[in-house]
Amino acid sequence: MEWTETLVRNEVRSFLETNWDAYKDLLEWRNKLIDAGWGMPSWPERWYGRNMPQSLQSVVAEEFARVGAVSVARTGIRLLAAETLLAHGNDAQRERYLRKILTGEETWCQLFSEPGSGSDLAGSTTRAELVGDDWIINGQKVWTTSAHHADFGLLLARHDWDVPKHQGLSYFILNFHQEGVEVHPLKQMNGHASFNQVFFNNAKIPRSDQIGASGDGWQIAMTTLMHERRNAGNIFVEARRRGDFNGPIYEQEAEENKILLEPYTWYPQRAGRVDLVLPRAKATGAINNPAARQEIAKLMIMSRCAEWTALRARAAQQQGQPQGPEGSLGKLAGSNIARQAAKVHTLISGVDAIASGEDGPESGIIAEILLSVPAISIAGGTDEIQRNIISERVLGMQKEPRMDTGPFKDVRKN
């Protein structure tokens, strides 16, 4: 079928008119959505979708928003799991996992980073050994968001140490509900514990839960990471206000979101809270201090120009122009902005900058900014890695000599 905007809009509208009811149970409603293919309309028809082009998704979203209809579960990294299964899983795996991802009944997390392989993801040393019909997993993952309430994890582990590092990795679905898996929260310097460490001590994975073939791990992980980058920011997609609508289903949805979004409450502070700068400068009188004015202006200039750069990238993309360098710069710009914002908040607040909790300005938000900003230039790829990527991929500069190309067992590691 050839989808057009009008066709989509009419079909969704008629579906919602017939079926949407804010007094329905959330699970029941989502199953209906999944069966109708309106939860993930861009997915294949065989797998709960309608094979619709990505570009028409926004039409569906608009119609849902118009009547305040709740969609399938999308928060967190569950959709990365789903996209990975769609791309590389087999039908049995899709059958087993996809529906419950969308209903929200089962939650997922990503088990890639390790203490010894942070910037260098492919340097994973978590060990996978096939014993009979089970893969036996030993090792440790870290920086795992939501592992403490995850049912399943997307696991990257090494089955072969005699080949170069990218070739010896495999990709698995790990069930958290077993003895060999321990989850410990990882407390950060700002007092939050948004991440976890996950320890595997002879954890078991049935052969049927391996995705792809042995050795395909890195390539499959790239699919997951590509979707992660594409969805960056979408993690909060369902957190939008539904102020105009009422019904018990919203409470169920809010409860689900509350759990999932809890680890992310400090993320706005991590970005520096540029929005607070001018109001606070006025309230404290710092706006009249010429030295502070210079620093505030520097921040405003960086921040506005970065916003416009993002708009420029999006506009060019929408017009089908070839991608310019603007798109790859957002993360690095964000680091610079956050650092400058921390500087400015300190300058504005003076000694008040160190008062925290209820004793601190903005109920402790300023202190939380100062203690959270250091994360932004590290999380999701350090500034240094970003600069490598930008210089190589955008500017076409040369790679450094590699010291890790031989069999992985011979590569120097931590």
């Binding site: 004015r293 122009q321 930008i390 450094e400």
Partner: protein, 374 residues
């Protein structure tokens, strides 16, 4: 919005091609020693071949009737090529003064000949008192007569007509207005000034009891000067990001070819990361410059904010690019025969003309405040 249209991309392409063909660095180096400092033939070609003499000048005055965005595209390409010509002084600054402030008669008298290249005009802003803040002008016109010396006048020695900025009367808070000094007056004396940037000529003009003609009506609003400076700053900012981009590209190319310690220096993090940071800064500055051009084109009342952002971001990005480019080139980048210094010098002259970043940052906060108050 915010993506260039296909027509705009074509305009950029045709200007780039023209400048590649007619404004090589070799030719520019010859012109650096020339008393005139620009190539009349290639300048005339802008009008005759490219039709960009009056990009943003309405068709009724002989222009192409396009917007400030198209003008800024042209300027970005000229900045990239470091094209030496009176385009900025005459076709942009002087034309802007006429467009923004002139009466219908004055526009009709001057814009067509500026748009066609027949006359070169220039705006004289600087004097002894406003070296740092261009608005601190003290000289004045009394009884339609002006006596004084203006400095840092772009293309002073080749201009056919001067637009003098001076106060309307001796009171130090009298409004700043623009005044036409007709060519050929015996009491007008021009002299070249030595500048570090020989691709952008400056000079002094001294006037003694010269009768001048006020641009616009005596009753016209007194914000004309600020508007003129903002428009000029945005034009200059767009020229600047073009130059910064050239510096980055030439640095990356050099780093990819230069081998030290058995590997291209572009494989060294110190060089790679410098270039990545520079790309970021230049792309941000471009966004600022483009956004400001668009704001002017769209008559967005917030354009003064965008002008401050654009000039400040362009200043910092261009100077950083210039310093980094020399550093990446190493010793060779400090030599006369290498081209980097030509852009370095242009970066420096652009940085200080119409205000350093500090001025624009201070102004930005005032303007944000004003915007909020309204």
């Amino acid at each position: 919005m915010f993506a260039f249209t296909d027509e705009q991309l074509q305009l950029r392409e045709s200007v780039r091609r023209y400048l590649t063909d007619h404004a090589s660095v070799r030719r520019m180096r010859e012109l650096m020693d020339d008393p005139i400092g620009f190539d009349r033939q290639s300048y005339q070609g802008l009008f005759d071949e490219l039709g960009i003499g009056g990009v943003h000048i309405p068709e009724e005055y002989g222009g192409a009737g396009l917007s400030y965005v198209e003008l800024c595209i042209v300027l970005e390409e000229m900045g990239r090529a470091l094209y030496p010509s009176p385009y900025l002084s005459s076709n942009v600054f002087a034309a802007n003064a006429l467009l923004l402030i002139g009466t219908a008669e004055q526009k009709a008298e001057w814009l067509p000949s500026i748009s066609s290249g027949e006359h070169l005009a220039t705006v004289a802003l600087y004097e002894e008192s406003n070296r740092s803040n261009v608005a601190d002008i003290k000289q004045c016109v009394t009884d339609q007569s002006f006596t004084g010396t203006k400095t840092f006048v772009l293309d002073a020695t080749v201009a056919d007509v001067f637009i003098i900025v001076a106060r309307d009367g001796p009171d130090p808070i009298s409004p700043l207005r623009f005044w036409l000094a007709r060519p050929g007056d015996a009491n007008v004396h021009c002299a070249p000034m030595q500048s570090i940037d020989t691709t952008r000529r400056i000079g002094t003009i001294s006037l003694e009891n010269v009768q001048v003609e006020r641009l616009g009506e005596a009753t016209s609003d007194t914000n004309g000067f600020d508007r003129f400076i903002d428009f000029a700053s945005v034009a200059l900012a767009n020229e600047m990001v073009g130059g910064a981009q050239w510096l980055l590209e030439s640095s990356v190319e050099y780093a990819n070819n230069r081998v030290q310690f058995g590997r291209p220096i572009s494989s060294m993090q110190a060089i790679k990361h410098k270039c990545a940071d520079l790309l970021l800064e230049i792309e941000l500055a471009k966004s600022g410059a483009y956004r400001a051009a668009q704001a002017i084109a769209a008559s967005d009342s917030a354009y003064p904010i965008h002008a401050s952002i654009a000039k400040s971001a362009a200043n910092d990005a261009y100077m950083q690019a210039a310093a980094d480019a020399i550093q990446i080139h190493g010793g060779i980048g400090f030599t006369w025969d290498n081209d980097t210094h030509l852009w370095f010098k242009r970066a420096k002259s652009s940085q200080v003309l119409l205000g350093t970043s500090e001025i624009h940052r201070e102004q930005l906060l005032d303007r944000l405040d004003l915007l909020e108050a309204n």
